[in-house]
């Protein structure tokens, strides 16, 4: 029964993909779209080979991943302490919450012109934009989680004579970990969306730039190759972060 379930979980999605490729082929054959605007499945397959041979796809992928890693890590490292602070100090919440909310609702893409003016085209601009996309959601989620840690844990911490630092590290932080991991997963997904957009406009390399480059060269086959890679890597990032939910000291948050 279990084995059957495993087969199902692979066979069913594969069937859906196969059906989509068939529909794709039919649309391509039908001639609804001009051939220059609609690549054939086989052409995309050839595009994969071409990109793999030149190695460009790989270097673009590494470039984009590097930028996301930098911007995202920077946002996590600064956003979590900021959120913890706001979660614990009522006055800090009152003071900063409106402005944090404002920036969270401001699309990071609106910053692109300034990013280019300030940081030019290169690594810095996309990293800056990714940082902006991740920082504010991380602050808000950390703050909300920290402010809602059950008071009974504070009582226990006091009973057992914990110092403020000890309480932060041994109580508050582990108490909010499950919510934090969920936030990190969502935010990393947003970062992956943003890096493509950022590189399309403010990049000279990376997957986003490759998309733009393929368009400019009218290489719709390569365009689809890039799209497939971007989507797959996004799924991969989420799967990787999902592993965090399996850590025993975090899993409790998902099993109630």
């Amino acid at each position: 029964m279990r084995k059957l379930g495993a087969i199902r979980s692979i066979a069913l999605p594969l069937t859906v993909v196969a059906v989509m490729v068939v529909i794709w082929t039919i649309v391509w054959r039908s001639g609804i779209f001009h051939p220059s605007a609609f690549p054939a499945p086989l052409a995309v397959l050839r595009g994969f080979r071409e990109e793999a041979q030149t190695g460009r796809l790989f270097t673009d992928l590494i470039t984009s991943l590097f930028r996301v890693t930098c911007g995202f890590s920077l946002a996590v490292v600064t956003g979590i302490p900021a959120g913890l602070w706001m979660g614990q100090k009522e006055w800090a919440r009152t003071a900063f919450l409106p402005i944090v909310n404002f920036f969270r609702n401001l699309s990071p893409l609106a910053w692109i012109p300034f990013a280019i003016l300030w940081f030019g085209v290169g690594d810095a601009s996309p990293i800056f934009l990714i940082f902006l996309s991740a920082f504010f959601p991380v602050v808000l989620a950390t703050m909300a989680a920290a402010a809602n840690v059950p008071t009974v844990y504070s009582r226990v911490a006091k009973d057992f004579g914990m110092s403020d630092l000890e309480k932060l590290l041994r109580v508050t932080l582990p108490a909010i970990m499950p919510q934090l991991v969920t936030t990190l997963r969502v935010t990393a997904g947003v970062c992956w969306l943003v890096v493509v957009a950022a590189e399309m406009i403010a990049g000279r390399d990376g997957l986003g730039f490759a998309v733009m480059d393929a368009r400019n060269g009218l290489r719709t086959d390569i365009l689809v190759v890039e799209m497939i890679v971007i989507g797959l890597v996004g799924v991969g990032i989420d799967r990787a972060l999902e592993q965090l939910t399996k850590i025993p000291s975090i899993r409790w948050g998902y099993e109630r």
């Binding site: 009974v152 009582r155 226990v156 006091k158 009973d159 057992f160 000291s249």
Partner: protein
Amino acid sequence: MTVSPLQLRHVSHSFGTLEVLRDLSIEVLHGEFMAIVGPSGCGKTTLLNLLSGFDHPTSGYIERKGKSRMVHQQDGLFPWQTVSENIALGLRHVKSEQERRRQVQELVSLIRLEGFENSYPHQLSGGMRQRVELARALAGPSDILLLDEPFSSLDYLTRLRMRQEVARILQERPRTVVLVTHDIEEAAQLADRVIGLGERPAQIRYELGLTTPRPRDPTHPEVVQAIRQILAELDVESDSGEYTTA
């Protein structure tokens, strides 16, 4: 003559305009098991928060000699820590890793949870979790044990068993105990002295002592007699609908 570890003198407490406790004077003797009984919302938990030092009374004076530990109604364990890690919370001062492990193991045996050392709270039943909380509160040096309706979230049979467990465990590790509960049967079976609080603002309505040494059966004549007495006390009050035992 030993000094009383817990003393309340004319303690009153209010939240804003809501008066919760009014002029309470209670003295808990060394090694005594005191039960404080009262209807829900009468300020029992407030009283425990004052006793543990988590809150300070609006007026009056509380003297606490020694370290106190609280067992909460439910979910007081850290869910991100295993049974062992939770129990070891009170043993952080123990330098030797080996000695710490030995003491944790001793407490795990005391609450009869061998084999669950590395389980997480969410993997345990409610009764097991409360036993772990008890063990955590008893780990390391402490003098006063505060029990905040520790069995109220458990089913009746588990509650009966937990009472026996507590009585047995306290024989091994004697503490001065204050139990807050709305379960008069529980109070009569476990305590040396029962203090009844009235509706908010809580004042002492009655007090009675039991002399039969612990642990006692719930059907022991003195326990039954005490329950009868408390019920009689409550009948004096107008609204006693809440006081049917389980």
